[in-house]
């Protein structure tokens, strides 16, 4: 029986208290006990970005981040962005740009896109592409993902409502 450790954090705006095995990753915690399966398990070693989440506003790979290390922090997963009015433009841009093929990498791409727009507003296509270097799409549909994030960054907020 692995050692359990109680942690408290804010997940998508709601405070949570939970006992987790000390070596459990944030990805395992989200997809397991918290039943939030939008965050995907791709490679399990920080190479593909399908599990990207925001922790205190920083994009991180949830598959190599221990849940215990998130005690006292604020986690935003794709489910949080799905409900966030401030991310409406980004969601719409992914749809309008056709930036989704099989969809497996999409949650990570959207979360990383949010991080890019938050930290580098006005980023050009080259900066967006660089910002996505940790997100792999095996359908190889990168161009439209860059289109979507560029569009979300330049679309005025008032016409970005869903």
């Amino acid at each position: 029986m692995p050692l359990l450790h109680e942690i408290g954090f804010v997940l998508n705006g709601s405070p949570i208290r939970l006992s987790v095995p000390v070596t459990m990753t944030v990805l395992e915690m989200l997809r397991g006990p918290l039943n939030l399966t939008g965050t995907k398990y791709g490679c399990g070693e920080g190479e593909c970005g399908a599990c990207t989440v925001l922790v205190d506003g920083l994009s991180l790979n949830a598959c190599i981040l221990l849940a215990v290390e998130c005690d006292g922090r604020e986690i935003t997963s794709i489910e949080g962005l799905a409900a966030d009015p401030a991310a409406a433009g980004l969601r719409r841009a992914f749809v309008e740009a056709g930036a989704v093929q099989c969809g497996f990498c999409t949650p990570g791409m959207v979360v990383q896109g949010k991080y890019l727009l938050d930290t580098r507003p006005g980023a050009d296509r080259a900066a967006i592409a660089r910002g996505l270097e940790g997100n792999l799409c095996r359908c190889t549909g990168y161009r439209k993902v860059v289109d979507a994030i560029e569009r979300a960054g330049t679309t005025p907020a008032e016409v970005a409502d869903d």
Binding site: L3, G44, T52, I64, L66
Partner: protein
Amino acid sequence: MHNSDGSNTAVTVRAYHAPQSVSAATALLAQGETAVIAGGTDLVPQQRTGSGTWQPVLVSIRRIKALRGVREQAGQLWLGPLTTVSELSCDPLIARYAPVLARAADCFASSQIRNAATLGGNICNASPAGDLLVPLMLLDAEVELSCSRDGVISMRCLPIEEFLVGPGSTQRQPAELLTGIRLPLVDAARIFVFEKFGTRPALDIATVSVGLLAVAAGDCLQQVRVALGAVAPVVLRARAAEAVLEGRRLDNEAITAAVAAALAEINPIDDVRASGWYRSELVCNLLTRVLRNAVAA
């Protein structure tokens, strides 16, 4: 984890601590059987792949504020080991005094990894291909190691070159914590280069990396430093190549001689990323290009 004989050597973590001070952390380390976790970007995947194991006591150092920050201190640049790679790439003091470190940080893994991975972690992981180790070798960095004995903390300071022993191996004793990194404060304009060869620009472990730091004086280089990654058990300073280049006109003959000297200093292995022969070819081509560009600049 599985050994080559198939036996399972998984270690069960029986305690987790997240101390808030160096004294509390070193007191825990003094009791032994500990693994230190910072960003976790090496430690966690190493458990998955079996290239590492947990220790019975896991000590998270992320709450220790004294291990954060970058500042000028006693005529040196002091860097907290918890400084993330993202922070290194945009810190104004590092941009001024150690731009080659910012450059290597910018080439490091991916955005997500840079947000988590720490300077101290990259040093203690001691990969022969560690991206930040090349600039730290160029800059003659020193590491501060602290330990606690009977409640009293003592600190020793080692040059990075001495600290790194082999792949994954350092001079850090199990009871010691890396508590700081010191760089000399050099404000003079220097040529600096960090070049990394891999199969893609991002998220690749260097097949070979090359660093150069020098002062340009006409068509000569002075105070020349050359560091090479992924061509020996540790990141190397190519001192014979440096000696060839020092103060000499940087013509084709000097470049050829410097590359020949560097090739005699390295000891590259065959692995999944490249053969030893290919790594030697890369050192030859990359170093030649770096030096030619240094003349042109």
